[in-house]
């Protein structure tokens, strides 16, 4: 079989050592080791953020509970949100990108290996600085993950928490921007010959789009954080209305970053789902071009919707109407994606592995999150529901039911590639159903709580009808989820040592990463199968019916 030789990079690969001692990991510039370290960083903070939310759920178990005081509670919910967004989901997705993108495009390394290491260590450093605030006498930041001015000003938040928040997030922000830059250049310059942009795996496409979103959104956040830090440390007045600043300016800056951030955390999962569903359905992804096109549309629209976080600010009907329209437009490409995944399953021969279970239920849970999101684009509904538990339910359906489900699907799918061993399917299935139950129990009910009038970010609540019962059930669900996550960790630990050997291509998949060994050698590939379609390994395994023949016949048809 003919193979394409991977071109050697102009600069030799920086690390030649294969010794995997601790020091070697810390000094590593290998994209696979860095990808794993990104995932471990996320894991560390996932445990911290998880403990925070369990404490919060204990506090909310009954009305008028006194388990946590308001000060500690406000610190915990601030840290939970900040941690999960910046220190768990971001490093997870960037880590998967850094690990998989070179493998999927047939490259041996990222474009800038040293920058890659820099990005990781900046992210970790930022996170550690943020968490150091707990050890500072004043405690962690307590102004919410959104740190609205003027509550976050030194006048109303006089402890150093918000300063740690600014510095920590500026550092992780720099890490995210450099990682994005690295991904863009890698995808532009290191693709194997034959892999043009019409044959790029959907996951790589989505990382490519996401990287541009990061490049455009994070500098806005970092600028805002620097301004807030200047306000707090040097007594400037960007955000203090009493001396001519504007409290609303912070909200514009924050959400001009914050809403694209939602898509930064949603597009890579779309990519993961678009890899997992086809392989386990034994069907090519349905409507590849529409899927990519809708991804680009989402990215462009992402910058025209931020004010739907601000419909209650009182900016007037014309502005609210404009941003309502923008927010609804985003529903169109998202809807297209959902139906494309469903249609990929059609006519298939579906293997319900744990990865596929998560991917299939992702479609449903994410749709719930998407539809509850549309209810915020309907301005009058937003005027009732914003800042209630309905929003809490919505974001968790998007970030857990969406992003995290996809990450679990991706981890079960790629774990054999990363480690050489499969995760236990038996434990995986129990984990899935337990998590599914806990997740929906926790958050489905919170929609109702929000409609009944429970505001978010309250450390306690009065004993109004149903509030106690719904919160109790919600807490039970949260502990079910925690138990299932414990089972997942157990699965990883046991499978690392005793899991079934995977082989190079355990799922009979189609993209190039499965053409390398499991785990891949330091130099990913010596030779790669020729890329003539979206599914090079399908073409290899089915010489009688390769994809490129279909493509070709279509092209000739079009030319006629």
């Amino acid at each position: 079989m003919e193979k394409v030789i991977v071109p050697e990079p102009h600069v030799p690969l920086p690390s030649g050592k294969t010794d995997r001692s601790l020091l070697q990991w810390m000094a590593s510039v290998d994209h696979k080791q860095l990808g794993i370290m990104y995932l471990l960083t996320a894991l560390l903070f996932f445990i911290a953020g998880g403990i925070e939310i369990l404490l919060i759920r204990i506090q909310l178990i009954t009305p008028d509970n006194t388990f946590l005081g308001p000060d500690l509670y406000n610190q915990l919910f601030t840290m939970h949100g900040t941690t999960m967004i910046f220190l768990v989901l971001m490093p997870t997705l960037i880590g998967l990108g850094v690990y998989l993108v070179p493998l999927m495009i047939g490259a041996n390394e990222m474009a800038f290996p040293r920058l890659n290491a820099f990005s990781l260590w900046m992210t970790l450093l930022g996170g550690l600085i943020l968490y150091f605030s707990f050890l500072d006498g004043g405690g962690a930041p307590a102004a919410g993950w959104f740190s609205y001015a003027p509550l976050s000003s030194s006048h109303y938040s006089s402890t150093k928490g918000v300063d740690y928040y600014c510095i920590g997030l500026i550092l992780t922000g720099i890490g995210s921007v450099t990682a994005a830059l690295n991904l863009v250049v890698t995808i532009l310059t290191l693709r194997i010959p034959g892999m043009d942009f019409r044959r790029l795996p959907v996951f790589v496409w989505m990382m490519f789009i996401t990287a541009f979103l990061i490049l455009a959104a994070f500098p806005v956040l970092n600028a805002g954080l620097v301004m807030l830090l200047i306000d707090r440390q040097l007594n400037a007045h960007f955000f203090s209305p009493a001396s001519g600043g504007s409290a609303i300016l912070w909200q514009h800056l924050f959400w001009a970053f914050g809403h694209p951030e939602v898509y930064i955390l949603a597009l890579p999962p779309f990519g993961i789902i678009s890899e997992v569903i086809p392989v386990f359905s034994r069907q090519p992804i349905f409507g590849y071009r529409f899927l990519i096109g809708s991804g680009i549309a989402i990215a462009l629209l992402a910058f025209g919707v931020w004010m739907h976080h601000m419909f209650a600010v009182g900016l007037g009907n014309p502005i609210n109407g404009f941003f309502a329209a923008g927010s609804m437009l985003i529903g169109i490409p998202t809807g297209i994606k959902v139906f494309n995944w469903i249609l990929t399953m059609r006519g298939g021969s579906i293997r319900f592995t744990t990865a596929m279970l998560f991917a299939a239920s992702f479609i449903v849970e994410f749709t719930i999150g998407g539809l509850s999101g549309i209810s915020f684009a309907l301005v009058p509904l937003d005027w009732q529901l914003t800042d209630t538990y309905y929003v809490v339910a919505h974001i968790h359906y998007v970030f857990l039911g969406g992003t995290l489900y996809a990450v679990f699907a991706g981890l079960f799918y790629w774990f054999p590639k990363i480690t050489g061993r499969k995760l236990s399917e038996r434990l995986g299935r129990i984990f899935f159903w337990l998590f599914f139950l806990g997740f929906n129990l926790t958050f489905m009910l919170q929609h109702v709580l929000g409609i009944l009038g429970m505001p978010r970010r309250v450390y306690t609540y009065p004993d109004l009808p149903y509030f106690g019962l719904l919160n109790l059930l919600s807490t039970v669900g949260a502990f079910l989820m925690a138990a299932s996550i414990g089972l997942f960790f157990w699965n990883i630990l046991t499978s690392l040592r005793k899991g079934e050997r995977a082989g190079d291509d355990p799922w009979n998949a189609w993209t190039l990463e499965w053409a390398s060994s499991s785990p891949p050698a330091l130099k990913n590939f010596d030779k790669v199968p020729p890329v003539r379609s979206l599914r090079p390994l399908w073409d290899l395994k089915h010489p009688e019916n390769p994809d490129w023949k279909n493509e070709k016949s279509k092209q000739t048809r079009n030319e006629k």
Binding site: A142, P150, Y156, A242, R346, F352, I374, A377, T388, G453
Partner: protein
């Protein structure tokens, strides 16, 4: 829409599940442009309908939110209580806000410190209170009754205990309430209450609070003029009883930590005198 998605996922999951012993690859479907365009058209159509309904409802709820006339009611958010002013009558009160039923009121909302949010679900939309800006909304209670609400924007330590009580009364009952509010509180009876009144003026209470008819006229903390007539204390946190007021004055930070009321370390007798005085202001 949701049921369509769930239905399709479940149906395809069952229909196209791999059968035992099946090893052949199924026939491959790549795409179908007609179907894609159909999906595009359908989702666009649904969004169009949503957009039309949004705009019409929005205009109905929020028409002309700042007309060229003074508001009927001004509500100011403070960390962590509400100040209400009635510009037409000059009444100033705190936390329990009386309105006439059956009347569409123009309400101006402002903030004295950080961003708060006014939200009484049954009486209209929610609206942020932004320092340095005045926002307007329409509020209407169709019938008399007590309506509960809450601050809906995180505003610091005691955001949870910034509850709202709006008491809608028939117009004549409301007019009577307004007249009563303008009266100075009834003269102090008994030696204990008189001692309380003296203490109130001596112990710097008057630096933050106002009681009509006395020298206390500061607007930093809630107006206490008719405290005895209110249902709750501490912005909806506790029922208004002498026992609860005693606990609060004994050690405010233990009851509502973070609140801007310092602990004056009163003696038992002093607390008793103050409670006797304040609870008779009605």
């Amino acid at each position: 829409m949701l049921f369509l998605v769930i239905g399709l996922v479940v149906f395809y999951s069952l229909r196209y599940r791999r059968k035992a012993g099946e090893t052949d690859e199924p026939q491959q479907f790549h795409t179908h442009s007609g179907l894609e365009i159909g999906i595009l058209a359908a989702t666009t159509g649904v969004m169009g309908i949503f957009f039309f309904l949004t705009i019409t409802t929005m205009l109905a709820v929020n028409d002309n939110p700042a007309p060229d006339r003074p508001p009927d009611l001004v509500i100011i958010g403070h960390q962590w209580w509400w100040e209400a002013r009635y510009p037409n009558s000059g009444v100033v009160t705190a936390n329990e806000i009386h309105i006439p039923s059956g009347k569409r009121l123009l309400v101006e909302v402002r903030s004295a410190d950080v961003i708060h949010d006014w939200w009484v679900p049954e009486l209209g939309r929610k609206m942020d209170m932004i320092p340095g800006t005045a926002n307007h909304l329409w509020m209407e209670a169709r019938h008399p009754g007590t309506f509960l609400g809450t601050c809906s924007e995180f505003c610091g330590t005691q955001h949870a205990w910034m509850r709202i009580q709006v008491i809608a009364q028939a117009p004549d009952a409301f007019a009577a309430w307004e007249r009563a509010q303008l009266q100075k509180p009834t003269a102090v009876n008994g030696a204990v209450a008189a001692a309380g009144e003296t203490l109130f003026q001596q112990k710097t209470c008057a630096n933050c609070h106002a009681i009509a008819g006395t020298k206390a006229n500061a607007r930093i903390g809630p107006d206490l003029t008719h405290l005895g007539s209110r249902n709750t204390l501490l912005t909806g946190m506790l029922e208004n009883t002498p026992e609860n007021l005693t606990r609060w004055l004994d050690n405010p930070q233990q009851i509502k930590s973070g609140a801007h009321m310092p602990n004056f370390i009163f003696t038992k007798a002093e607390v008793e005198a103050l409670v006797e005085y304040l609870e008779h202001l009605d």
